[in-house]
Symmetry: none
Subunit: 214 residues, 4 copies
DNA sequence: TATGAATGAGACTTCATTCAT
DNA sequence: TATGAATGAAGTCTCATTCAT
């Protein structure tokens, strides 16, 4: 532990650790809040999972509620902004753009630990209304906006038939959200439930949407 | 929303209503557990909403956990069995059968307070694994089985193109589950979010599925 | 239950039962208080053991404390007064009087359920100081007074050597009290403990006292 | 009696005394359990008497029951083992050995706060059967065994007349147990009762036993 | 900065007591 | 008089938060 073979003083490592603390705590908190919910998670567990003591957690976050808010802020929004940027320069067909969106959603968000945030917001929205609003504004709203543009692009180009766009966007998003919600709630408890390959499911989903829009 | 906080406005104290109490308590518990989660709901709140005192609740349910279990048992499974029965005798086209399933799902479940159970299970599955398994066995499994039959019926008759049925069933169910999950989580907190008419959304969903299956 | 084969109306039986109620409740309460202590005994148990409902108990005793006091009053004192009377007319030797006292103590008190009162007072004296004082005045004091007279009689007649009477009385009483305390506390839990025949023990006790006094 | 309610009069709040806490809590618990019984003692009282808060008690003992068990384990058995050791090397007459046993019993146990354990076990044996058995095995059994040897030694050497040893052992022990039981139950409530000097009483007891055994 | 012992508000649960029937 | 459903004060235990070290 305290024996450093390298002659370099341990200051840099300590500094790095010190700066890494909040991130480690946020990761631990995300995982535990997702798994057990906000109320059923004890701060001591979060601290232990991050490898620090209970008191240390409170040096970085003034309360359990603030820790929760930081978890949401840390994990929300980033991916949507990225997606916006990357979708903007797309030059292929709208069908292909839709397929690309679904694929990217999985690799950048749905398949990562950050996806647990979705279930977390579902569970705790009523107890943290201002966070729910924030999540709505930063994640849900922009995501829908992005998809509205994708669909409108297809309609405008004549590739898709004219449809009522907002409801359709809900239908595109629902299976994505549902998939991650499922993965972090019932799925871990139910070995009996048949496991569906996420990628295959998403491929089929994109296919169904494209066919339904022709 | 505007549901009566107390069953009778001018009810006297200490009325004896042994028969009605369990049901009133279960209704109150469902609403509060759905809204705030199991841990964040106090038994005293449940009792108050049912119009009784804290102690009375424990006359009917030996613990908060048992109350929770009773809430799930009370609200799970009933509707699925009904749906099975009514779908069995259907004689129209499979496209119409699919549309009928979606419509019935809304009138019999999605639009009723029992739909809150869906969000409740998402939130509490990890804390009540045995209940999650029960819910999987009694509700999720049978629902998927029912839909598998509906789709297979269409494929067998040549009305639907051949598809991998299990993933498709997930795609049919996802928007339904997502809708109620949404209604009991983010929606109440976000007036800014555009409200989508459920019936219109479900009509479009059925339409997209049918088109995607031709 | 309600079918009475006898043509006699059930009024007399009811009347008899009504008058017997307090006694049945007191018996039940004595047994349970002795077994589990005052605080750990629930009034509902007492009522159930007496064959009535919880509410009925409160028709006869205004509170659990008053029930306890009634139990003590009911069982205290009676035996001592009897003993006084019977000892008064004794004409044999003082050694024989001492033996007779010990024998009578067992048949009239130590071997009856009322003996549980001894353990009860030991356990609850601090929580019911005025009852402890009452018990001291009605039972302990008179018992010691009685024995003091017995011993003094022997000394006066020259049958016993001169001793300090009050401490000796304690020594005569201790094994009696200890025996019943034991029977209602550790003995029921410890089958491993060798069972001593009470009568033999008391015979030996009287013998030791008499020998020690010669 | 005049024992310090708080360990240090001007002790600051929130002192960290991890080592000393369990012992202080056990002492406080012994005193209160003896005085009021297990059920009637509130954990908050125990904590207050030990000079800590309610929550601190649960840092050291996981429940009130475990605290009780720890109190018994802490105070049981120690003295018996000591007595065995010291009696083993005795070289005087058996009469003197008996007197020495009684004296030692008082200085090492009967006159110390640990003597309250005797009354505690009498009161709570039925509610903690496994502890009663433990107490029987660790304290009562060995004590009787020790005294059996003492008496048998006297009989073997011809100093005592032959008697049935087990009942006699009960007679030797009864006044000792009775004395401490008394001191922690009725005595504190009854100033009217004549106070007997314990040492004088025990001297007389030993004398009576020795005389009765000649 | 980091620790973890200490705190005390708050939640579940029990049960003596009340009261409508 | 008898019942037992209903009540609510009180007790055990948890855990977010504080603070001496």
């Amino acid at each position: 532990m305290s024996s450093t073979p390298s002659p370099v003083p341990d200051a840099p490592r300590r500094t790095r650790r010190k700066e890494a603390r909040p991130g480690e705590l946020l990761d631990a908190a995300l995982a535990l809040f997702v798994e057990k919910g906000f109320a059923a998670t004890r701060v001591e567990e979060v601290a232990a999972r991050a490898g620090v003591s209970k008191g240390t957690l409170f040096l970085y976050f003034p309360s359990k509620e603030e820790l929760f808010k930081a978890v949401v802020h840390e994990n929300a929004g980033r991916h949507v902004a990225d997606a916006f940027r990357e979708m903007a320069g797309f030059t292929g067909s709208s069908a292909e753009l839709l397929r690309e969106f679904v694929r990217r959603w999985w690799t950048q968000y749905g398949g990562t630990p950050a996806a647990g945030l979705t279930k977390l917001m579902v569970s705790e929205a009523a107890n943290f209304p201002e966070l729910a609003q924030y999540y709505q504004d930063e994640v849900v709203g922009p995501s829908h906006e992005l998809l509205r543009r994708v669909v409108q692009r297809g309609i405008d180009s004549g590739e898709f038939r004219p449809v009522d766009v907002p409801p359709l966007v809900h239908l595109i998003i629902a299976p994505l959200v549902q998939m991650v919600t499922w993965r972090y709630s019932l799925a871990p408890c139910c070995p009996s439930a048949q496991q569906i390959d996420p990628v295959a499911l998403l491929e089929l989903h994109a296919e169904m949407m494209v066919r339904g829009l022709k």
